[in-house]
């Protein structure tokens, strides 16, 4: 047999690439966290893992790209600056959020609600989710092809700071800051608003919440909508960073975001943030040590290990306990 080492461990690479990998990990991790919130909200209220959430994210990426096309931005156009840049970013993000949010609501209405009505077993819900996922991916593949669709570069990405090889760029800052801001907004919304209180009440005890006058259907739609909006924003940010769209672009980020949600404690909003950032950084460190092609295996392994040893995640499962 060959002398090849299956996992060529490279610890020097780790120390060399520590800062670059950490910065990139935090950037991508923030996006994972945004997607993870969708899993967490729906799980908190329905105890359902919405496998099709990755496709909601994918729709966001496409919607962001198409809104740029609609604004007449071509692949070869020069990068925007100033007010034009702000307008493009706001419009494309809003389009992505809207498209994803609506898709999520429609999905709940058409596919999940009939199952919920007759109290179908979980297996049915999971199979439905897989069906939706396949359907949406293939719909986009058939309409827009199976190849990469490039994004126009709307934003210059100069190096602002080079910290031990870690390149800090405006787009990374933008992604990280807006992801965190959205998450704080969501956390406040769930903790403070009346509708947020409905969500928390339903998450703790749906039956009692219903008896106390909470409209469960509305709460469910709201959670799908919120999850969809955030996934759409994540899609727009992801597109800005990686600059491509593809029918199966949601698959890996979707699974990783789920891993992040579980890692932080599914059903827990702050946990999703913590889990997303942790997973983003961990998988980048892992790819530094093991080589980039093992990155995804590493993320899956993290998922298995977390589920084996601490299935309730770092912060525990508790949407209902999100406090003001």
């Amino acid at each position: 047999m060959s002398e090849e080492v299956l996992f060529p461990l490279c610890l020097d690479c780790f120390t060399d690439q520590f800062w670059p990998q950490t910065i990139d990990g935090l950037t991508v991790g923030a996006v994972y966290a945004l997607i993870a919130l969708g899993y967490t909200l729906v799980y908190g209220v329905l105890r359902l893992i919405n496998f099709a959430h990755s496709e909601i994210f994918m729709i966001g990426v496409f919607a962001s790209l198409f809104s740029m096309h609609a604004m007449g931005i071509d692949r070869n156009d020069p990068a925007k600056a100033g007010l034009a840049l702000v307008v493009v970013l706001v419009v494309s993000t809003a389009a992505a959020m809207l498209a994803s949010g609506l898709s999520a609501v429609v999905m709940e209405r058409i596919a999940y609600r009939p199952l919920r009505r007759r109290n179908a077993p979980r297996l049915s819900a999971l199979i439905t989710a897989i069906g939706i996922s396949l359907f949406l991916q293939e719909l986009f593949a058939l309409r827009y092809g199976r190849n990469l669709l490039g994004f126009p570069r709307v934003m210059d990405k100069p190096t602002l700071v080079d910290f031990n090889g870690a390149i800090i760029r405006p787009d990374k800052i933008l992604i990280f800051v807006s992801a965190i801001a959205l998450m704080i907004a969501l956390d406040r919304f769930v903790a403070k608003s009346k509708m947020g209180r409905g969500i928390r009440a339903t998450a703790q005890d749906a039956e009692t919440a219903a008896l106390m006058g909470v409209n469960i259907d509305r709460v469910v739609v709201l959670t799908f909508l919120l999850g969809g909006l955030l996934a759409g924003a994540a899609g727009a940010l992801y597109g800005l960073f990686f600059e491509f769209a593809k029918y199966n672009i949601g698959f890996l980020p979707g699974i990783k975001a789920f891993t992040a949600a579980v890692l932080g404690g599914i059903g827990n909003i702050k946990g999703a943030l913590l889990g997303g950032l942790t997973l983003g950084v961990l998988e980048n460190w892992g790819s530094a040590v093991l080589g980039g092609r093992w990155k995804d295996v590493f993320a899956f392994a993290v998922l298995v290990v977390v589920l084996m040893f601490r299935p309730t995640g770092i912060l525990g499962e508790a949407l209902g306990k999100a406090r003001a």
Partner: protein, 672 residues
């Protein structure tokens, strides 16, 4: 807005006019010989038909269809039987194929020689995946298996020894056997796959009729109750994974031998989903259904591709969704994704369902369902009402005392040795102490009552004894041996069985099957033993059946033996649960509020039943709120209040005990 009535009407129309239902009923009426004959005929036809086709390409099609069917049958054991959603099934297919490819291309071994190794490696992969993950809840398990499938594919893609993304080429064909020449003609491979399908079906049918298959169904319907009734849930789930994986590995071996070339691209995630779609579309758990589902998924796209009308179908589809596909095959995943969603809405039981699964999939039977409201399960105490006058034997007592012979004052010495002993048992949940320093000794042949107000810790005590909870401190001895920390099924096998406060039968199993699951606690036929048909297996099956029938008669439910447990009247369900617990050959029977919800005449029968149970030599521990029943039937009573034992003694003493009366009535205001 209210609840999609159209979905329901479509469902019922489908049910009423489906030819499938008609054939299904016809089939049920045939005897076994006819059934066997029809099956043989069908398979003979399946084997012979491709030979009659003149066009070679038509024959080519049969091989992939058969491989799909084989894979779907394998996955069906995992998803359809044991109810474990495996989204990475293709990994086992890949392991079988890669094992065969690697060994035959780097050693002198022939394809036939590596066949057992391929299957064994796939099984090993199944056990490696299942071992750490099978304790996870259903949806977590699904996503972990998905991850596992991807890990296997990426490892193959990244490993030099496995050819990376180039894959492995030059895999030899199997050498010829019995007139089948394995070269480039696909028909012999098709026959080989057909043989594998027959073996898989026989295996499934056989396992289904044994304690293994019953255990799988029990796990699917109520895993916790199954464990407490002596079903080794973890082991059986692992076996489901291993058997399913073995079939996947076999399919992989066949595939590698046929194509001589495999690469990671042959084992994408979507293949797992397509196989799952086949299982779901056809009807989980039903063999004809799964075959039909796999046939649809593998055959229809290819068939449409071959006929001229296929072009029109393609145009219509392209126009409908604005697609640009040039080949109908590109629509395969799209349409089957859509089909999965529609089937779950309109016909969750699939096209050709098995009877039992139809009921289960339509509505959740366990509290695991995805309800409009999520009902959290609490481990707390029941909301049973307790009248004060019941305690004090007042006129509202629901069992007229004079109707039953007053039990003679029983002296402690009349009973045998201590069978069940609790020593200073303590159970703490977070900051709540549910049981504090409880010590009890129950002696052989006793009817031992445990009473106390709601929240006193009575059910928690049962949960500690049966191993559902692990007591925080103290010891629990059965025949002098500690049973603390043992898994519930082992405690059951050691001789403690219970019933549940909120009845937890396996709702879609028949009454007889419910009791058979109980008898299996004492049976040990293994999966290989069942498959080989060892004498022990047959002996145990015969013994189980006689025993189950006897017990059904003992509790008086024998006239409903073949009805699904969920259709039994309430009182019968309670009695059936007792029969199931007795079937485990337990020596100590824990009854958790057996009289709850019973009317006076049913309670009367229950008193007699409990006495009969003692008469056949069992020891009974009874939690009950109906005081007059407790006072009548119990030899000794322990009273719990706020997790502490406040009194113990014969019924007469308990009735006059100050602390007991205070516990129920509260402390009088003038007491200091």
């Amino acid at each position: 807005m209210s609840g999609m009535p159209w979905a329901r009407s479509v469902r019922s129309t489908l049910r009423r006019y489906s030819p499938v239902e008609f054939v299904g009923r016809l089939w049920e009426r045939q005897n076994n010989i006819t059934k066997l004959f029809v099956c043989i005929l069908l398979f003979a036809f399946a084997a012979w038909f491709p030979l009659t086709l003149e066009l070679k390409w038509q024959g080519v099609l049969f091989f992939p269809v058969a491989v799909y069917i084989l894979l779907a049958l394998g996955l069906n054991i995992v998803v359809g039987q044991a109810g474990l959603l495996d989204l990475g099934y293709v990994a086992f297919y890949a392991v079988g194929a890669y094992t065969a490819a690697k060994l035959t291309t780097t050693s002198e071994w022939s394809m036939w020689q590596v066949l057992p190794i391929s299957i064994a490696m796939a099984m090993l992969a199944g056990v490696l995946l299942g071992g750490p993950t099978l304790r996870l809840r259903g949806d977590y398990l699904a996503i972990v298996t998905l991850g596992f499938g991807e890990i296997v594919r990426i490892v193959a893609q990244n490993t030099g020894a496995l050819g990376e993304s180039r894959g492995i080429t030059g895999i030899p064909h199997p050498s010829n056997v019995g007139g089948l020449e394995f070269l480039f003609d696909p028909v012999p491979y098709y026959h080989l796959t057909l043989a594998a399908i027959v073996v898989t079906i026989l295996m499934k049918v056989r396992l289904n009729r044994s304690r293994i298959g019953r255990g799988w169904i029990a796990i699917r319907e109520d895993e916790d109750a199954a464990e407490v009734m002596g079903v080794p849930t973890f082991k059986l789930k692992l076996w489901a994974f291993a058997v399913g994986a073995a079939v996947g590995g076999l399919a992989g071996w066949i595939y590698a031998g046929k194509t001589s070339f495999i690469s990671p691209d042959n084992f994408p995630f979507f293949l797992s989903v397509l196989i799952l779609a086949a299982v779901v579309l056809g009807g989980m758990g039903s063999i004809p259904g799964v075959i039909a589902g796999a046939f649809l998924i593998a055959f229809i796209p290819e068939w449409l591709r071959g006929i001229p009308a296929g072009k029109d179908v393609l145009d219509v589809l392209n126009k409908a969704i604005g697609g640009h596909a040039s080949d109908i095959n590109e629509y395969r995943q799209f349409l089957f994704g859509l089909a999965l969603v529609l089937v779950m809405i309109f016909r969750p039981q699939g096209l050709l369902p098995s009877r039992r699964r139809a009921a289960e999939l339509h509505e959740a039977t366990s509290p695991e369902g995805m309800g409009a409201v999520v009902v959290e399960q609490t481990s707390g105490e029941p909301e049973a009402e307790l009248g004060v006058d019941q305690l004090l034997g007042g006129e509202e007592a629901s069992v007229p005392i004079e109707a039953i012979e007053e039990p003679a004052e029983v002296k402690a010495a009349e009973f045998g040795e201590t069978v069940l002993e609790l020593q200073n048992v303590k159970m703490v949940f977070g900051g709540v102490t549910a049981l504090n320093d409880v010590s009890l000794a129950v002696r052989q042949g006793q009817i031992f009552g445990i009473i106390g107000p709601n929240g006193a810790g009575k059910t928690t005590l049962f949960n500690c004894v049966t191993g559902v909870f692990r007591a925080t401190d103290g010891d629990i001895l059965l025949d002098g041996k500690s049973i603390i920390g043992k898994r519930p099924h082992l405690i059951c096998r050691a001789g403690v069985a219970r019933t549940f406060q909120n009845i937890r039968l396996f709702p879609d199993m028949t009454a007889l099957e419910n009791v058979l699951v109980g008898t299996d606690a004492d049976h040990h036929a293994s999966v290989p033993g069942v498959l080989a048909g060892t004498p022990r297996y047959y002996r145990e099956e015969r013994h189980g059946r006689t025993e189950a029938e006897r017990l059904l008669e003992f509790v008086g439910v024998h006239h409903r033996a073949d009805d699904a447990a969920r259709n039994l009247p309430y009182g019968d369900q309670r009695r059936l649960e007792i029969a199931r617990a007795m079937a485990t050959r337990a020596r100590v029977l824990l009854l958790d509020e057996p009289a709850a919800g019973m009317n006076p005449s049913e309670k009367q029968d229950l008193v007699q039943l409990i006495r009969n149970i003692r008469a056949v030599g069992l020891t009974v521990v009874l939690i009950e709120h109906d005081m007059s029943l407790v006072m009548q039937v119990c030899d000794e009573i322990a009273v719990l209040d706020f997790g502490e034992k406040i009194a113990q003694g014969v019924p007469a003493d308990i009735q006059s005990d100050e602390r007991v009366i205070q516990a129920y009535l509260g402390v009088p205001a003038d007491a200091s």
